[in-house]
């Protein structure tokens, strides 16, 4: 069983977001970057499949040089190969990123392609299904449970307050949801072993793609703004529960008009 796991590197979810001078991007100064949290579930699932049936887990990331750190982290957890596609992914739209990843995936033997259900930060939830379409594969999105065997998979897909059980032949694209598994931490042994693995690098051109089909096309980033700062509203002393309940009811009825 060979898997490819596509990784995006994102600002730590605890970080405050500042806008860069151009008014269109995030100011990366002092920002801590992490492997996108949903990608961790994707990676863990691929590693578990490999541990059951051998094969490779190749992690891929498209982005600037800093993404090598994310790939290194994935190798330390148990991925066996890594590919860094160099490029300013912030200038590419989701379909541009998907085209780059799909082209790269074609060069790697695989039965399954994993993504997180969304890149935490850009929050698009687009690239996984786009890659599935470009490769002509079935997809199961927002997966909370996965079984693989006999050339097919059975996956639980989370939908609004319910779950679908979907069967699909391999190869296929899976996007991972929290709950799929409990991701491991990197062990010291893993970290040492990862240092010996060379990260392969490629450019967009190496993959046979034109910059004009990847960067600054289809979607134009106009501006990035912080939401209006809230100052907080009325405070009420809730020492008397009945009075507090009355105060809330009045608010819900008269202002929210939800009763």
């Amino acid at each position: 069983m060979n898997s490819v796991v596509c990784i995006s590197q994102v600002p730590d979810t605890e970080s405050r977001i500042k806008i860069a001078g151009d008014g269109r991007r995030v100011d990366e100064t002092g920002l801590k970057f992490i492997v996108s949290p949903y990608d961790e579930f994707a990676l863990e699932e691929a590693i578990r499949l490999k541990e059951k049936s051998a094969g490779d887990v190749t992690v891929i990331s498209f982005g600037p040089d800093r993404v090598q750190q994310a790939l290194r982290e994935c190798l330390a957890r148990g991925a066996t190969k890594a590919l860094h596609i160099k490029g300013e992914s912030a200038d590419a739209d989701s379909l541009g990123i998907a085209k780059v990843l799909a082209a790269a995936i074609k060069t790697i033997p695989h039965d399954l392609v994993f993504f997180g259900k969304q890149g935490v930060g850009s929050d698009n939830s687009l690239v996984g299904p786009m890659v599935a379409e470009l490769l002509g594969y079935p997809q199961v999105n927002v997966v909370t449970h996965l079984e693989v065997g006999d050339g097919k998979l059975t996956a639980h897909r989370e939908i609004e307050a319910a779950e679908e059980i979907i069967e699909a032949p391999l190869p296929a694209v899976i996007t991972a949801q929290k709950g799929l598994n409990e991701p491991r931490y990197a062990s010291l042994k893993g970290i040492m072993a990862a240092k010996k693995i060379a990260i392969d690098t490629k450019s967009v051109a190496d993959l046979g793609l034109a910059d004009s089909d990847v960067f600054n096309t289809r979607v134009t980033f106009v501006s990035l703004e912080l939401p209006a700062e809230k100052t907080g509203g009325r405070k009420f002393d809730g020492a008397d529960p009945a009075a507090a309940a009355q105060e809330i009811i009045k608010y819900i009825r008269d202002e929210a008009k939800a009763l």
Partner: protein, 317 residues
């Protein structure tokens, strides 16, 4: 003519709320461009409903349950026929599953989870949250059609007084590699936070898993969904699909009641665009009070039951 096509979903014989919202903003875009609003659905019985929200035509493909591959083929077929300038999908599980697949097949740009849409210099300009709501991006989508998924509750549905949409049958048949084997139905009374008008959320202040009953009781009484902070999900008190925030769902209901939620930065980002926010917390310095319109400093274990009783009384009238 630069028209708009809206992918509609049907539930219990009616258009889903998110579909009505997508039709509403779709109608505004179509009118501004002097084009028609048309809709896609798999059930002709919603023709009157679609017309009420401005659709002139309803393209109906008789397909069974949702499947990515069959629905992509059917909507693509209608898009090829109608050649809309804009294709909108409500931001449901299925809408978010289908939009990227369609965009890749049509080789066009797409914007996810948008809360504003307008024309700007002949392009569709969209605003969407990023970083779990910590920032908002404005983007222009070029290409025909420009695709967007609409954020639930961002575009209040408005009836236009239009007559029933003209039904156009679509002969769509395609193979699907993926097959739906089973659906585990939702538990009775469980609403999804993604689309709910009202959310009652619990945080670490609940102290233990079983105390989520305080939150559930109020949610059921008021007709809302149960939300949760990341800490409570990580502690295993409640399932992840209830999680609000950057690694859960970004939500914007009409009413958000937070009980025992201190307000970590990633939780605040995920709910502060709610229209009305009530917070109950015993710590007067809790960050949640910064975004609350009404902040109650007090004990949730006595206030929530009192509130639940008051809501029941009010509902009984």
């Amino acid at each position: 003519m630069p028209g708009v096509l809206v992918f509609c979903e049907v539930q219990d014989g009616k258009l889903k709320k998110t579909s009505r919202e997508a039709l509403t903003i779709g109608n505004k875009l179509a009118q501004a461009a002097g084009g028609d609003l048309v809709a896609f659905a798999t059930d002709a019985s919603v023709a009157a409903d679609a017309g009420r929200y401005g659709a002139k035509k309803l393209y109906v493909a008789k397909l069974d349950a949702y499947g990515t591959e069959t629905f992509t083929a059917a909507v693509k077929q209608v898009a090829d026929d109608v050649k809309p300038a804009v294709l909108l999908l409500g931001g449901t599980s299925n809408g978010r599953d289908l939009a990227p697949r369609l965009a890749a097949r049509l080789d066009v740009g797409v914007a996810s989870d948008v809360d504003r849409l307008e024309w700007k210099d002949g392009k569709v300009r969209a605003r969407r949250p990023m970083y779990g709501g910590k920032a908002f991006a404005t983007i222009d989508i070029s290409g025909t059609p420009a695709i967007a998924t609409t954020r639930p509750n961002a575009f209040p549905a408005e009836e236009t007084g239009g007559g029933a949409a003209e039904v156009v049958e679509v002969n769509a048949s395609s193979e699907s590699k993926a097959k739906l084997i089973d659906t585990k139905a939702p538990e009775a009374g469980e609403l999804s936070i993604a689309e709910a008008d009202i959310i009652v959320s619990g945080g670490r202040g609940l102290k233990e898993a079983q105390n989520f009953s305080f939150v559930r009781d109020l949610a059921h009484a008021i007709g809302g969904a149960v939300g949760a902070s990341r800490a409570t999900v990580d502690a295993g008190w409640i399932d992840h699909q209830h999680q609000v925030g950057q690694t859960g769902r970004v939500v914007s209901p009409n009413l958000y009641i937070a009980a025992g939620v201190s307000g970590a930065i990633q939780h605040l980002a995920g709910m502060s665009s709610s229209k009305h926010i009530v917070a109950i917390n015993k710590d007067p310095e809790a960050p949640i009070f910064r975004v609350a319109d009404l902040g109650i400093v007090g004990d949730l274990f006595t206030i929530l039951p009192a509130l639940t009783e008051e809501v029941k009384k009010a509902k009984a009238h």
